[in-house]
């Protein structure tokens, strides 16, 4: 909106009792003020997530208190905790069942990279190997303030998403995939161990 209406004119109008906005701002304001997370937790990070939703930290202040027990009604997936290889296909399946637009917060060291269990045989080395992640929060586990911060970052991201034009939001682009292949249980590991369309390991030069 700020690109279309002069900021000075807008505040002048507001002083006179006329409020001007755009479809995009109104739409994004509504979306970011009612992000419904999917209600599931995987490990100790889930306890912090519960604390964030409870009265002391009160996620309701940001419109995110309605935890939905069904992926069909959820906008946000908070991957809170260690993703074991046995659990990973179910996470991807839940993500596939969420309607667009959908967002993912990777909460804690384990969901980001496997954390202290990274070198283990049964822990997925980060959920971003299979689904796209919007916000990462480091910590073991992150404090509720950190989750609130990630939530606010996500709101900022939603606020900036465009409805039209070439740089419109990803979920408005029909070519963008919204479902991702569910990994299969293999004889030694998940197959494939990572989705190459989503995940590319960082390239480091080391001798």
């Amino acid at each position: 909106m700020s690109e279309q209406i002069d900021e000075g004119l807008r505040s002048e109008l507001q002083r006179q009792g006329i409020w001007v906005t755009s479809m995009q701002d109104l739409y994004n304001w509504g979306r970011r003020s009612s992000i419904w997370p999917l209600q599931f937790g995987l490990a100790c990070c889930a306890i912090e997530m519960i604390a964030t939703a409870a009265s002391r930290y009160d996620l309701a202040r940001f419109g995110g208190e309605i935890f939905r027990p069904s992926p069909r009604q959820a906008d946000l997936m908070i991957v809170a905790g260690t993703v074991t290889k046995k659990m990973a296909p179910q996470i991807v399946r839940l993500y596939n069942q969420m309607p667009d637009p959908k967002y993912v917060i990777s909460m804690g060291a384990c969901a980001i990279s496997g954390g202290p269990f990274k070198e283990g045989y049964n822990v997925l080395k980060g959920i971003d190997r299979y689904i796209p992640v919007d916000v990462y929060i480091p910590g073991c586990p992150p404090r509720p303030e950190a989750l609130l911060h990630a939530f606010m970052e996500l709101q900022r991201k939603i606020d900036e998403q465009k409805l039209t034009g070439a740089d419109r939001a990803e979920h408005l682009n029909a070519a963008q995939p919204s479902e991702f292949p569910v990994p299969a249980f293999g004889a030694h590991d998940l197959e494939p161990p990572a989705n190459p369309d989503v995940f590319e390991p960082p390239k480091i030069d080391r001798t």
Partner: protein, 223 residues
């Protein structure tokens, strides 16, 4: 009621179960937790004795776990009298004994009735491959059911007589036994931020070689 010594338990168990072969595996560490090695053929009868004997009544199996023993050679130094240069002398001679690999299941037993414990019993498989079989003690201690499944999952010991021997932690399609010492985890080390030791060695195989040196090695600290 104080617990009898392992020697007493062994003697009474062998008297109660004719033919049973029980060895005491000494533990010389600080814990002094020696254990009873029970032969597989009479394991069920010995376990039943430990459970129902009025003086023992080991009715609580708190923990069952596995141990993997790889094939190893035991070196022993023995003093041997030999005739060297016409006179008799004592000479050190090392003998090597090859011990084939096997798997163990270890049970920790307590008595709720007598408030005593711990008695550790263990069983050994014949080898680490096809004959990795042990009798299930699930019929004596129900609490062994899930733990024997866990040992089957992670060590690959098959428990004969177990009512529901499936993998419990890993998925059913999984074929390896991850807690065995010769297990190699899948090679997905394409990115390790802080590799060290064995992980460093494996991560190195994935590192791209540096095309040219960046000159950092020529910098000398300023005086």
């Amino acid at each position: 009621m104080t617990l009898e010594s392992l020697e007493q338990i062994k003697g009474r168990a062998q008297a109660a179960v004719p033919g049973a072969k029980i060895d005491i595996i000494p533990n010389t560490g600080p814990s002094q937790q020696s254990s009873l090695l029970i032969d597989n053929e009479h394991a069920l009868a010995v376990a039943r004795f430990l459970r129902i004997d009025p003086a023992l009544q080991l009715d609580f199996c708190s923990n069952v776990t596995g141990v993997d023993w790889l094939e190893r050679t035991l070196k022993k130094k023995v003093k041997v009298k030999k005739v060297v240069d016409g006179e008799e002398r004592e000479v050190d001679e090392t003998t090597e004994e090859k011990i084939p690999g096997y798997l163990e299941a270890v049970y920790h037993l307590y008595s709720m009735t007598h408030k005593h414990g711990l008695v550790v019993i263990r069983m050994r498989t014949a080898d680490r491959a096809d004959d990795a079989r042990l009798p299930s003690l699930n019929s004596i201690w129900r609490s062994a059911e899930f733990q024997e499944r866990e040992i089957f999952d992670l060590y690959g010991i098959r428990f004969d007589g177990h009512p529901d021997l499936r993998r419990i932690l890993m998925w059913d399609e999984f074929q390896d036994y991850p807690m065995r010492k010769d297990y190699r985890e899948p090679d997905d080390y394409e990115y390790e931020p802080t590799p060290h030791d064995a992980v460093l060695a494996r991560a190195r195989e994935h590192y791209a070689p540096r095309p040219h040196l960046d000159g950092a090695e020529n910098i000398t600290p300023q005086q």
